[in-house]
């Protein structure tokens, strides 16, 4: 176990973290702004992977990469107008249940459309090799995922902290009634954030497709890690989402290396500890 080994593990952890970050940021801001618990977020991720794989099969990887998030956003739009807008005013329990039903329904819809077997999706030609990085050979595609995650994080951090719409979103998360009184169209803001969140979930799915197998239940598998990330990080905050993702990625990866017996329990134990000590998460959006 030399330095190269640890670098490799750290890169693996970082790559997992970035994937989770893409998924959790949408979910956490939707929750922070709309107080809406969207358990079906994982299903949108699975849809992203399926759209990506289908589009890539016809038009090459980059077609899938750019169009799948748009397609998932369209699905999100339909869900928003049909269901989610109506559920806005009901309690968390009803929202959890409706989106739980949605998970079931979307799971079987993907099975009907794409079948039970996994779909293959290849990384693009240019990213298919390995590159030397920090003294180790690492798959270029995984480095691309890390870079993409960091890029999205930087872009979101800039938008949220430096632009007017970012200030409006922060105001909405902090106190939506007050923001509405100051003339911000909070409803429209919700809508924009929801669309961006769905698109990011779709992006995460497309990007994950060449790494994992595209199966109907992939959305169900990623849901729990995503929820852990946003609860550990604190609901509604960008800082929480990135911190939660990094913690999850590193605890999971290094846990599997150092204590394989306890690895899967470790992260749940950590979540339980956070909930007991800081019930609102490490970096909650509201002070």
């Amino acid at each position: 176990m030399d330095l190269g080994f640890w670098t490799l593990q750290a890169l693996n952890a970082l790559q997992l973290s970035m994937l989770l970050f893409l998924l959790s940021i949408g979910l956490t801001v939707i929750f922070g702004l709309m107080h809406f618990v969207n358990l079906a977020h994982g299903s949108l991720y699975a849809l992203g992977a399926y759209f990506g794989a289908s589009l890539a099969a016809t038009g090459g990887y980059w077609t899938g990469f750019f169009l799948a998030p748009v397609a998932v956003m369209a699905v999100g739009l339909v869900l928003y107008t049909l269901l989610i807008r109506r559920m806005r005013k009901s309690g968390p329990m009803a929202q959890v249940l409706v989106t739980f039903g949605l998970i079931f329904a979307l799971l079987d819809l993907t099975r009907i459309v794409w079948g039970d077997l996994g779909l293959p999706m290849n990384a693009p030609e240019i990213l298919s090799g390995r590159v030397a990085f920090l003294g180790v050979e690492y798959p270029a595609y995984r480095l691309f995922v890390v870079a993409l995650g960091l890029g999205v994080f930087a872009a979101l951090a800039y938008v949220l902290s430096r632009t007017q719409i970012g200030a409006m979103i922060r105001a909405g998360v902090d106190n939506d009634a007050m923001a509405a009184c100051l003339g911000i169209n909070v409803e429209r803001l919700f809508f924009i954030v929801f669309c961006v969140g769905c698109a990011l979930a779709g992006l995460a799915g497309t990007v994950a497709a060449p790494l994992l197998s595209v199966t109907p239940d992939m959305g169900l598998h990623i849901l729990i890690p995503t929820l852990i990330v946003i609860v550990v990080g604190g609901l509604g905050s960008l800082k929480g989402a990135i911190a939660g993702s990094l913690i999850y990625g590193f605890v999971q990866t290094f846990g599997a290396v150092l204590a394989p017996q306890l690895a899967s329990m470790l992260i749940y134990g950590f979540l339980a500890a956070v909930l007991v000590i800081k019930p609102a998460g490490l970096f909650p959006a509201k002070g």
Binding site: F31, V37, L83, R86, M87, P92, M93, A94, V96, L97, V98, F100, G101, L102, I103, F104, A105, L106, L107, D108, L109, R111, I112, L220, I224, L227, I228, V231, L235, Q261, L262, A263, S264, M265, Y268, G269, L271, A272, L275, V276, P279, A280
Partner: protein, 334 residues
Amino acid sequence: MFRHNTLRYGALVLLAAGAVAHAVTAGYFGLEILTEILILAILVLALDIVAGFGGMVSLCHGALMGVGAYAFALLSTKAGISVPLSMVAAVAITGAGAWVVGAVCARSHGIYFIMATLAFGQMAYSYVFEAPVFGGDDGLGGISRPDLSLVGIDLDDSRSFALFCLAALTLVYGAAVITLRSGLGRSLSGVMHNAQRMRALGLTVWRVKADIFGVSGMIAGLAGVLAAQHSMYISPGLLNWTVSGEALVVVILGGLGTLVGPLVGAAAFVVLKHEVSALTSYWHLVVGSILIAVVLSRANGIFGWVEARWGAKLDRRLADSTRGTEAQEVTGDA
């Protein structure tokens, strides 16, 4: 406080009569389904106590059931303890575990409570999955049912086992009603409606929540013991969070906080599952759509809907007889 009304008594009598009639007449496959319904009914009763009467929406009841099943299986097959003693011990262990979970989670509310219980449930799932003593992915087999040959009953016969489960469900229902009517149950409904006020009255709120969670855990543990005896084989899948999610779906389909409703829900869910599975493999699409429709309809499940209609009818009759003067005060106890 939990009360029975005519409708609830009527539904209970109908359900019991239906179960007994089915247990006496059905063939092997029908008896398997009946047993499945009865065990699920015990689990959802446990969930309805915490979720419907305490506002504690738990996503770890599937795991609690699994803990009961594994505790029973290990004690009776590996530790060599007699079956009845193992049953009691498994129920006690699950209750104790649930009490601890309830005590730790008692401070959280809403979505955080859901997540915290989910975390504990998944923790148990991963542990059972990983640790060699539980047989890992392969599960555990060779589980035996209690020996009642002294009183001339052979539980290895599926008809007697179905009746045995029915007896267990009846006992559990009685225990649930007694718990909810006791001081503890009344404190719980106080805590659900206004925890602040109950604290001001000098009540230790977390203790009430933990105690109720413990009772509920004992019931879930019993469901696990019976599930282990039913299939005589257990696997870690029993503890997965989707089992808890399904139990929650059953409670909602039946009617949250009505105690009778979840029983109706369990029967409807299992029958629907088998009927739909026979027609199409897309059973999840059907149950998902039904769940969305039920929640959007804003009715409190099947039984809650019937009860609301029945209450409205009673009101109308009262309003007719009193010419609408005092009808406003006599509203149904839904």
